[in-house]
Every structure is written in C-alpha cells, then in structure tokens.
C-alpha cells in the first residue's frame, strides 16, 4: 500500500470519527410541539440560541420597523398557511428598503419593508412567506451548518492528504446560503401550502418575474434576496412546472386588502429611499403606472424629489412640473411648497421663492423643515432679493 493510499484511508476514517454526530438524520418539525427547545439535540439548541441572539441584536440596534396593523395582517397570512405552527412563526419587519426576507432557526421570519413595498398582493406575499417558513420547518439552517462543517473537515482532511482545489469549492458552496436543492424544496412545500389555502398560484410566478425585472432595472447582478438562491429564471420555471403538474390552485389574490394594509409601509420606503439618495429606485417605481395606483396621490411629490436629487439633464424641469402638479391636486400639501421654494431660490427667482416659503410656513408652522425655510426667507428679506425680481 503506497503512502497516498494510506493518507486517504486515514483521512476518510478521520472524517467518519469527527463527524459521527452528523449521521443523525435531520427530521423536519411536524407540529408546534416539536419546536420545544427541551426536545432539541445540542446541535439544534445551538442554532436556536444563535437565532435568539440575532433577534435580540436586531431589536437592540433599532432595526425593526413597527406597524402593528400591517404586522398583524402579515402574521395572519403565515398562520393561515401553517396553522400547525401558529404562535411559533413570528413575523417582524426590518427598516431596510432593499428586497429581502429571511427565516431564523427559532421561527422568526424577517421581511425588509422594501420587499413588502414591491409586492403587489397577498398571494405574492404568501409565496415569499411560505417559502421562508419552510427553511425553519425543515431545519435548513441546521443542514447548511452541517454542510459548512463537513466542508471545513473535508478541506482539512484533503489538505492533509494533499487534495488541492476541491476543498475551496466545497467551502464556497456551503457558505453561499442554502443549496439549490433546499431552495427547491422550500418552493415546493410552500406551493402546496398556498394551494391548500386557496391562493392563486400564478402569483408565485408573478412575484419572481417582478423581482427579476426590478433587479434588471436597478442593474443588481445578484438580487439580495436571491443571492444564494437558484437563479430567478430557474425558480420561475420550477414554479410553472409545479402549476402544470398540480394546477394553479384557487383564485384568491387579495390585492386590495394588501394595498390598504401596507400603504404606510410603501410611503415609508419612498421616504427611506430619498433619505438615502436611492432616487433611481423611486423613479423606477413611481414612473410605472401599474405601481402608481398602489401609492397615495401625494407620492408625486416623492417622484419630484427623486428627479431633483438625480439632477440629470431635464430632471429639474420635471421636478418643477411635478411640484406644481402636486400643489394643483393637493393645495394643502405643505412639503411641495417647501421644495418649490428651494427650487426657485436656487434659480434666483426670489419673489416666487418667498411666496412658496411663506405658504409652507402657513400650512406647516411646526413642520420638519421650518428652520431651513425660515433661514432662506430671512436671506431673501434681509437682502432685499425679492425686490430685484
């Protein structure tokens, strides 16, 4: 027996001995009672404690977005999808305008408000929620953790046996999120749950298509939510295959309740995007007539602000036209006067600026930008600038 063969045998025995506990199969939860921590193996307890710490950290950092009405609505959706786990799957929103959702191994499901803002109806949300819940129920986090450990072990052992490139590939795969198999498993399980509740399953295809179109428009190469998922196209095909095999389910879409319950969240996301100067996102969303109906009338103001921030050729004229449109449609909408005043001031139309600023102060004497408006108004008045126009 040559030296290389001996090394390989030693390596394989080491893997076996070191990973003995990994021979215990991972069984999914069947019901809520299975999720009692006292029933967990040490490995499962470790994942659960990690999840608890993550919950606490997100709360401490102030990352959670609080909207009790919306939260109750979304919680109800997941409870209807998985009644056997009612009380165990907990929905929380994160203050982030990007498209993402994830589940932790203690049943916490986090959704970025950016994703909630992009989704069009309840059936689409159910697709995402249903999928994330499976990661918890089928213990995908635990499986991923084992894969990672195995990859590390294999890497260690292969290096001892003189392996080379294989350990790096295994490590990368295991670190890049759930495997394609697990993602497909999550989609399939969620599909059947949605079918049972009576959702229109074509919305599952629609939500992936929409997110894919948006990722392309924003030039996101690997959409955050799907950075470790099978490519969106493949997910769309996979969902279509499930529909072809099992039917398209019921006809419940839930567009209007969804729009109503998440209206405040959509506006919060617009605000957040503008605050972070993600103006392109605001323009893409609000320039689409299909999206526009999901936003309140004064959302035109946000579009104007996005053009102002972008400041490309023609944008400032667009912004002006939109400010005037908002004022025409909503004469008491104070922020439009403030922005109009800033526009006129920057363009040295001091008389018009003065008029707009004065109007703002009348409508919103305690408004968010009162000090700036007052400051510019004082500059106009103290320097006699308005008389020069």
């Amino acid at each position: 027996m040559n030296q290389l063969t001996k090394n390989i045998i030693i390596s394989l025995m080491s893997i076996y001995l070191l990973s003995c506990q990994q021979l215990t199969p991972i069984k999914p939860f069947k019901k809520k009672e299975d999720t009692n921590v006292s029933n967990f193996s040490q490995e499962e307890k470790n994942r659960w404690y990690e999840a608890q710490l993550s919950d606490e950290l997100l709360r401490q950092l102030g990352a959670l977005y609080i909207d009790e009405q919306a939260n109750a609505y979304v919680q109800d959706i997941i409870d209807r999808l998985y009644p056997e786990f009612k009380g165990k799957l907990k929905i929380r929103f994160i203050k982030d305008s990007r498209l993402n959702a994830f589940a932790l191994q203690n049943g916490s499901i986090y959704i970025h408000i950016g994703l909630l803002a992009r989704i069009e109806n309840e059936a689409q949300l159910a697709t995402v929620l249903g999928h994330e819940a499976v990661h918890f129920i089928n213990k995908h986090n635990l499986k991923k953790h084992r894969e990672r450990r195995s990859a590390n072990l294999v890497g260690l052992v292969f290096n001892m046996a003189g392996g080379g490139i294989l350990p790096q590939i295994l490590l990368k795969e295991s670190l890049s999120g759930y495997s394609r198999e697990l993602e497909r498993e999550a989609d399939k399980y969620a599909f059947h749950k949605m079918q049972k509740v009576g959702y229109d399953l074509s919305q599952g295809v629609a939500v992936f298509q929409k997110l894919m179109d948006e990722a392309k428009a924003y030039k996101i190469k690997r959409p955050f939510l799907f950075s470790s998922h099978p490519k969106l196209k493949k997910r769309i095909e996979s969902f279509k295959q499930l529909i072809a095999t099992h039917g398209s389910g019921g006809d419940y879409v839930g567009k209007h309740p969804y729009i109503e319950k998440t209206m405040a969240i959509r506006e919060a996301v617009l605000n957040m995007d503008l605050t972070l100067r993600r103006y392109q996102s605001v323009i893409l969303v609000l320039e689409n007539p299909k999206n526009r109906e999901m936003y309140p009338k004064h959302a035109t103001y946000y579009l104007a602000e996005a053009y102002r921030q972008r400041g490309e050729k023609g944008d400032l004229s667009k912004a002006l036209a939109l400010y005037l449109q908002v004022i025409d449609e909503l004469p008491n909408y104070a922020p439009a006067y403030k922005s109009l005043g800033f526009y006129y001031y920057k363009n040295k139309n001091y008389q018009l600026a003065e008029n707009a600023f004065t109007h703002y102060l009348k409508l919103s004497p305690q408004g968010q930008h009162v000090e700036y408006v007052q400051y510019f108004l004082n500059k106009i008045n103290n320097s006699g600038l308005a008389n020069e126009n």
């Binding site: 401490q60 605050t275 972070l276 100067r277 930008h369 400051y375």
Partner: protein
Amino acid sequence: MKINTIKVFLLLFLATNLTGCLSNWVKPKDKQMNSPGKRFTIVLPDGWIRYVPDRRAITLTKDGLNVNKMRFGYYSYSKLFKPMKNKPNAKSNNYELSEYLIALLGKFGDTRFAEVIENRPALINGIEGYRVLISYRDEDGLRLYRLIYAFGAKQGLYYAIYQAPLLHYFERDLPSFTQTINSLKIAKE
C-alpha cells in the same frame, strides 16, 4: 556583551513607555491646536485629551473614545461622498449638504438604523452651516447621540462631531463641545 545589549534595550523600552513617549493620548501644552493640513484651529476644552493616531482629524476624548468623543476635520467632497453617484459641490447650499450627510450616515455601519432628531441651519463661530443630531443604538442597546456641525467650502466640507451616550454624558459634555465649536477658525481654503 549580548546580555548587556538586551538589558539596555529593555531599559530604554520601559523608560519610553513609562514617560508616555509612545502613548496614543496627549494633553497638548498649547490649547490652540492646528488641524491636519493646517486648515483650521480650535481651542482644546478643559479636561479633554487628544487621540494622536488619528492623523486625518483632531479627535478628542474625556473619558475614553467609547464613552465620549469629539472630532474636527475637513474632507473633500469627492473623498467623503465617494460611495455616492452624485456629489455636492461649491454651489450646494446647506440644506442640500445636510441631505448628503444624512444619506451617508444611513448607508453604512452603526448609524444604518439611526433616527434623525434634528436637521437645521446653524452658525459655527459666525460661519453659516448646519447641524444634524442623530440617535442610534449600539449592539448592547446603549442609546447614543451624535451631533454634527458642518459647513461647505469650495471643494470640501468642514465638520465637527460630538458623540456620547444619551444617558448622563451627552448633556454633561455638550457645553465643552459648544465652546470648542465657537473657537473654530479657518486658516486657509
């Protein structure tokens, strides 16, 4: 011979450490301090010391950087707002500059989930600028306040930052910060 050389080095090392020559913290004799690049000067407030390794700005603390700190500096627009596609310029007014700064704070690090409590025009020793107050929590849930004064120049931004836990420290040391802000003098553009 060898052992004597080692002893000498050890003695020198101990001597320099004990005398603080290698210390990161300095209480300058002259209270008036020049910024890096000699762009401006400030007067050191009582009880505060300077953190020397920060070569980009004047960083001061009283009870430790994790407790309270002030930072005074200058950044070119291109450097400070490098992550952003559009950057401010000499024509940007203070309202626009404040928007850029708030966007930068919200994009990265520990201020990602910060709340803007205040954003308004302000004077920095007679120079027109703006003031932004944000509140955020660290990983332990401790609420911190960060107060930023800034004003724009032709190619960059002058800034002054004061940060401390809301509990006890922020209000206690705010007068020192205000006093230091009011001592700021621009040396060159």
